[in-house]
Symmetry: C2
Subunit: 350 residues, 2 copies
């Protein structure tokens, strides 16, 4: 486990989506965050005190979280220099980037000298199994999306929170660096070797014989040409009873790819159900989660209602308006006979 | 490059598909193979002289190829002991297993002491890019399949050979350990970290402005619940102008998964075209390649004819009957206007 409290790094970032790990920690573990560290050219803020490493240490921070992302996930010279300052101030450093802190000799040497630790959250577990597709018992929900970074983790956490509030056990299963930092465990799916994607998810969400739910954080999109392989393996490994489609209506094109438009919502729903049916023939779409952060309240509510009508599915912004419409749908299914038994909900005969 | 000639390892294998790397080298680089090394409990043969490491060394072999595969790709104690014998005899050792020779201290120490090398063919290249999906020029063909191990590599090599025989440049792009050993280069796709699958293929088959073809070896199957993520990323990264569907009509169920039946051929053709269209909107299916090794000649020819009729596509067993029907179809398309230009054949507007 990574020791808190945390100092959240924004650095020189000027891309709201690029700071999603720092923002996720600020949103879901606010009591563990003492401040944000950003340079003068960073126009973004998490609403925390702007402090540097030395001040954070004085306020009790034990770990600098390099909660920023860039394509390819490399450690730049800026990041290394700032991480060195934090180490000199006596803090651990945690990173979710692909390029590992442990592969940078200056950081390893400095951490050793200062007696602090380096945490590479994206280091996948060893000895992952190959997926076997065997039908397994239990309720599992997986979030999917029209694109990367549209709110799959927020949606999963909100849905899990609503189930818990109703007295139903729901366990968040993290598959990305932010989720892992929030949950304290999980598997960094995009860092897993390709042959083991489905197997990693089978291991992360094993059979369960209670009436609770595994709430699995989705990754990427079947319609993102860079990452659809990850999304495919995740759908197959999850063997989901339910999917929830996540969408950001303000997105002009696929994340990072101006030459790719977003898929039609209905087309995306059908494609995800079709891929999921290979291992979960009875899978259903439980609803649509819209990220309405850029719309005013009236417009956001109107869009949710229109989307629900158009697709014939519950639709909400769970972070803004609550997850009840989707949870109501989910529990209606669970009220059907099988929920009282421990037999698998689907037979993998496909 | 891995020095030949080779001694091909069968060990204790009793599964024909498990020895496919050794068999592939025997089939496509016969002049570089001095013999096969198998134990008394191994009922299989490549038709080469049965010799051990010491005898192979006397016959000039420079490298033992551990050309066997098992689920998960682990190095067992048997394999390590036999590799040590080869090293003591003065040979290099090459392996395509997931678990690396370099991670086994006894092998590293023995190789160092003997002055020979260890080759881990499944070690992926460093600094792979994330896929960008940008439309790129050139003719690319990708083999896809109803299952794993149905003949995608053989088909790709046979198609490339037929194009070359007609005076058309065709470059085999290897994506698996056997193909890489045959070609001398390539990318071990199933060992690539999941976020970089599509990017690895974009790098392996860059834009080309001649009328030649990149012939890309496929992996896995969209219908294999363990490996469909790899197949998805490969389809997106390849941006193929043409697909060829590979199928083994004798297969009773999905490889390694008795609880999964094979997909219907037509369903599999449609699913692959649908996924490929995300980055290659103009992609077409050029034909079906049947692995008819278990049928007599008449039955094999009849099945090819029936399949061609049923799907409205050329169908052959390229290794047995030649690849001409599929190549004829391919060159008919190439005769259309674009082949004389270097502009992209598709616009990635999806």
């Amino acid at each position: 486990m990574i020791p808190g409290p945390f100092l959240l790094y924004l650095g020189h970032s000027d891309d709201e989506i690029g700071i999603k790990t720092s923002r996720g920690l600020a949103a879901f573990r606010p009591d563990d965050c003492v401040g944000e560290w950003r340079h003068d050219d960073c126009p973004l803020t998490l609403g925390l005190d702007r402090i540097d490493a030395a001040e954070a240490r004085r306020r009790g921070a034990r770990t600098l979280v390099l909660g920023i992302a860039n394509a390819g996930g490399r450690l730049g010279a800026d990041l290394i220099d700032d991480a060195l300052l934090a180490i000199e101030a006596g803090m651990n450093v945690a990173s979710g980037l692909h390029q590992r802190l442990h592969d940078e000799p200056r950081l390893v040497a400095a951490a050793q000298a200062a007696g602090v630790q380096l945490f590479d959250v994206r280091e996948p577990p060893r000895d992952l199994p190959v997926g076997n597709g065997l039908a397994r018992a239990g309720n599992r929900l997986l979030t999917v999306g029209t694109d990367c970074s549209v709110g799959k983790m927020y949606t999963t956490l909100a849905l899990a929170g609503t189930l818990n509030a109703r007295g139903i056990r729901a366990d968040f299963r993290a598959t990305g660096q932010t989720g892992i930092l929030i949950a304290g465990s999980g598997v960094p799916l995009d860092a897993v070797v390709a042959d083991f994607i489905a197997g990693a998810i089978e291991q992360l969400s094993p059979a369960r014989d209670d009436d609770g739910w595994d709430m699995i954080e989705g990754q990427g999109s079947l319609f993102h040409p860079s990452f659809a392989g990850v999304s495919t393996g995740l759908l197959h490994g999850a063997q989901p009873r339910a999917l929830v489609m996540c969408h950001d209506p303000s997105r002009a094109h696929m994340r990072g790819l101006p030459h790719y438009r977003l898929p039609d919502l209905r087309e995306c729903v059908e494609a995800n159900l079709s891929v999921a049916r290979l291992t979960a023939p009875a899978v259903r779409m439980a609803g649509v989660s819209l990220n309405t952060a850029r719309l005013d309240t009236d417009a956001a509510r109107r869009l949710c209602a229109e989307t629900a009508d158009a697709l014939g599915l519950p639709c909400t912004d769970p972070y803004r308006f609550g997850a009840d419409p989707i949870i109501d749908e989910l529990l209606q299914w669970s009220a059907t006979p099988r929920s009282a038994t421990s037999t698998p909900i689907m037979t993998a005969s496909a």
